[in-house]
């Protein structure tokens, strides 16, 4: 009967000792990890690991496995995209910077060039040209008041320009013809008001 309390006390002491040992070992491991991270060869070691075929294989395995599905689920579950876009939208300047740098990047330029040169664009254009809806749309735009007004304005502007030139030249011709007439009839140059004189 006396042995039972002693046994339980002994067990408690043993658990405490093992817990303290685990704690000490954990702290020692962390110190060791810090030392390892600060070690001057660590960076090189990490670089070699990452550029090794083993890392490729590991990434391949990870991408083939359920990890990607799990990540996608978590991205959707925790609204990661919404949060990121929300943050970007809140900071307008940052958003503009990100979009601007993305658009100006050579990669985007290359992609755009590839899209333009690809058969895809030709196919899209061909299909669009075959579509009746496109021609309906073009018809609508061509007959829209804005377009007809613009064409009308341009025509009026051109006609006015031509008429303006005709007016200027006719006034010069008026003066010239009068000079000739005066010379022929041997009349002195009267103090006539000619448009050209007044313009001067």
């Amino acid at each position: 009967m006396i042995r039972a309390p002693l046994l339980s006390q002994g067990l408690r002491l043993g658990r405490r000792a093992s817990s303290a040992a685990v704690d000490a070992a954990g702290r020692a491991a962390l110190v060791g990890l810090d030392a390892l991270l600060d070690w001057r060869y660590t960076d090189e070691a990490v670089r070699r690991v990452l550029s090794s075929p083993a890392a490729d294989r590991a990434v391949g395995h990870a991408l083939r496995g359920p990890l990607v599905d799990a990540m996608a689920r978590d991205v959707a579950r925790y609204a990661v995209l919404e949060r990121v876009t929300g943050e970007l939208a809140a900071d307008q300047a940052e958003l503009e910077r990100v979009v601007g740098s993305a658009l100006e990047s050579p990669a985007v330029e290359r992609i755009a060039a590839q899209v333009i040169e690809s058969r895809l664009l030709d196919t899209i254009v061909e299909r669009l040209l075959l579509s009746e809806d496109l021609w309906l749309l073009v018809d609508e735009i061509a007959h829209s008041p804005a377009v007809t007004d613009a064409i009308g304005q341009q025509s009026i502007g051109f006609a006015d320009q031509v008429a303006g030139q005709v007016r200027v030249r006719s006034q010069r011709a008026d003066a010239g013809l009068e000079r000739v007439a005066r010379r022929v009839l041997r009349r002195g140059a009267a103090d006539r008001v000619t448009p050209e004189r007044e313009e001067r």
Binding site: L177, L185, V193
Partner: protein, 167 residues
């Protein structure tokens, strides 16, 4: 009126700035007026011609005697003359600008004021225009020599033709 009031009045009149002189009109020359008249003649002739063609086509399906044709031709001629008279008289006596004048930015007005011609003077001017054309267009010669660029039709119609820029 007291002496003081009279003195103030005289002083005020003396101090009043002189009224700005009216700008001297720019009279339109022969070439400009001829171009404007050409535009008007084109409008009158094309309109008359179009109406004549339409009426002629309509009548061509009917078998009408020669006498009737001649009568219709005479009526058409009279109508054309009336149309021509109406065209010029109406424009000269209202805005002073025919469409041709509008294109060339000139305006017919009275010789003594800035008003458009009265209807009867517009009519006189049109008759004088025809008279000026009869002797080998010699009636238009004064436009080249006259100080105010007035031809026979302007002298008889008491009119001048001035430049009328828009605005």
């Amino acid at each position: 009126m007291t002496v003081t009031q009279a003195a103030v009045s005289v002083g005020a009149q003396a101090a009043a700035p002189p009224a700005p002189a009216a700008p001297r009109p720019k009279y339109a020359g022969l070439v400009t007026r001829a171009l404007a008249f050409a535009v008007d003649a084109a409008i009158v002739d094309l309109t008359g011609g179009f109406v004549g063609v339409v009426v002629g086509l309509a009548l061509s399906v009917l078998k009408t005697p020669d006498e009737v044709d001649k009568l219709l031709l005479a009526i058409g001629g009279v109508l054309f003359v009336l149309w021509t008279i109406s065209y010029f008289v109406a424009f000269w006596s209202t805005t002073g600008q025919t469409p041709g004048n509008r294109v060339m930015r000139i305006r017919v007005r009275r010789s003594d004021s800035d008003e458009p011609l009265r209807m009867r003077w517009a009519l006189v001017r049109l008759v004088a225009l025809a008279l000026a054309a009869i002797p080998l267009l010699l009636g238009f010669l004064p436009i080249l020599l006259n100080e105010r660029r007035r031809g026979l039709q302007d002298l008889l119609g008491r009119s001048v033709v001035v430049h009328a820029p828009l605005g």
